[in-house]
Point group: C2
Chain length 358, copies 2
């Protein structure tokens, strides 16, 4: 990333941002704890009202029997896959080539779990029912990420998901949902979290992406599954004496933002439309299906960085703090809409796209 510090600095100095909910700083924690009584008892190694109530609340919301709070999705999903692998006595599982487990976890599934992941389909597109049907070997579990983040947050149709779910059930394959951004896809599907989760045997959801909490994840499923998950949480060193800093803030931002996903989705579609109206700029997907999409420029990062930095300085609106080089001399960045976009004055936003159009 050429000149990335210059771009990063210009982004940091902007008053407004296209992405996210605002700065990730201590005020996120302070706001969540402001109304919390100091007498609120800590959870203790997974027990206590603060963790149990939240687990019950999210389990009910997702329509699952039980749920376990984890410090991270990385830990939660490795646990889930191992549980299903053990159940079937088969260490082979399958997922998209750009799954978080494949590209962001330092090969943990192999190094820690001796699992054998098979890759479904190809990196640049969604995995399909056909990819699953054509699997060369039996797998214990398939993981599907909704939306598939690394390709701009794309989604299969709900009908295809239903088909995949039925196929897995008929063929003794467990289906796990990487729902890192599950909340964010309900407006597009016009389905509740419950309706989506009903297609999966186990579900991971996150509290710091669309919801804007500090960190933390929930793994939900049947009673036997979560009992096993608690053992794996202990093994991974995730069964902390106190997880309440994450739980209390997850709960606070869940209540604050769970009803705003439609608003973020509409704003994402509007922004993508504006980007696509600029010469040499396009978004993936062209029409977003969640609050996120990727923005691609036909030119290199070196060419685009000064343009973005200038827009940052002149409009006070931050588009991105980085640009990633792409094949063919192109570049791009990821955009996830949250509370921040609504704070941008209309005139400033118009100015951004006028300048980008030039």
């Amino acid at each position: 990333m050429a000149n990335s510090n210059k771009l990063k600095d210009s982004f940091k100095k902007t008053t407004y941002k296209l992405s996210q909910h605002g700065p990730r700083n201590a005020s996120v924690l302070k706001e969540a704890f402001e109304a919390v009584d100091g007498d609120l008892e800590s959870d203790i190694y997974g027990d206590g009202a603060v963790i149990e109530n939240f687990q019950d609340k999210i389990a009910a919301f997702l329509g699952k029997e039980t749920a376990v709070f984890f410090p991270s999705g990385t830990m939660a999903q490795q646990a889930a896959l191992r549980i299903w692998a053990d159940e079937k006595g088969n260490k082979k599982i399958a997922y998209h080539p750009l799954s978080h487990l494949e590209i962001h976890e330092q090969n943990a599934l192999k190094e820690l779990q001796s699992m054998e992941p098979l890759l479904l389909g190809t990196a640049e597109r969604l995995l399909t029912m056909d990819d699953i049907r054509n699997l060369s070997e039996p797998v214990s579990c398939i993981l599907i990420e909704l939306p598939q983040r690394e390709i701009g947050g794309q989604l299969p149709s709900f009908a295809e998901l239903e088909e995949i779910s039925a196929y897995c059930r008929n063929n003794g394959i467990r289906l796990h949902l990487d729902g890192a951004r599950l909340w964010e896809v309900t407006p597009y599907y016009q389905k509740s979290e419950k309706e989506i989760c009903a297609l999966f045997d186990s579900v991971y959801v996150s509290f710091y992406k669309g919801l804007g909490g500090i960190a933390g994840a929930i793994l939900a499923g049947g009673e036997d599954f979560t009992a096993e998950a608690k053992i794996w949480k202990r093994r991974y060193g995730g069964d902390l004496i106190s997880l309440y800093p994450y739980i209390v803030s997850a709960d606070y931002y869940f209540d604050k933002r769970i009803g705003k996903m439609g608003e973020y989705y509409e704003a994402a579609k509007d922004l993508a439309h504006r980007f696509n109206a600029c010469d040499g700029v396009r978004t993936v997907p062209e029409v977003p299906v969640s609050n996120m999409f990727h923005v691609y420029f036909e030119k290199s990062a070196e060419a685009i960085e000064p343009i973005l930095a200038k827009i940052h300085a002149e409009t006070g609106v931050g588009c991105s703090g980085y640009l990633q080089e792409k094949p063919g001399g192109a570049c791009g960045f990821e955009l996830s809409v949250g509370d921040a976009v609504a704070e941008i004055p209309v005139a400033s936003l118009d100015q951004v796209f006028e300048k980008l159009g030039e």
Copy 2:
């Protein structure tokens, strides 16, 4: 544990406590963040001033090159042992039969790491230089816990530690310190943390036991070691986007209490002396070598629980919320001295031991 809810309830209702620093509740977090500016930027996946500065501070304090903040000691120590096992190409490591890794981690070393732990010595006593000399097979690493918590917080002499350290260096064995309660043993050894850590290749310390933070651990060692540790932290799902709730509080309570370990140690010796003066009561060790010890009663939990519950109600001083059955119809509990003991009015404390003496 017979009647344990009655004892637990009577303990909870007491105004004062022999153990710890006070209740584990949200005020612990609120106190730590009170003076923190809301603009303080979060760490992001292990980077940023808030995590890097604290890692540097603790590395320097322990006299190690570098340090990594982990959410838990469980995760940190499994990472450490794996790194040394990989270095030596030998999955055999050795530790005390009551090591945390052996009894509190759901067999994680075997299930996650395929490691082969050898047990040094026997459960009821400290491991010794002789146990190490008599190891039946070569090991890559030996883990020593100072103090050995499960036997009341006992310590080898510093001279024996030096001998073990020299032996390991001469025999190509890495020596890892489980320093969950390292801060607490410096007054007895009359050595600094640096002097103790100099005997070990890698060191884990905790921030919620003697120091009373919320959770969190540091793993310290050479540069190559901590670079590897960061990879394992990612694999374990411990590389959270934000660990600052634990880091800020760890730093706050480190500064607040690191100078008070001598005070806790003296109070522990005084309390143990008072327990030992009561008929049918003894402590292990008889004279504490840190802020902790175990209290044993000659009679069963069933016999002792009503006595303790009565003392709780009559004196307002909590001794313990539980009693663990011990062999031979005895029972006992663990006591770790912190800030709480200094708040007990002298007359109330005297009353506790008068009643216990009866």
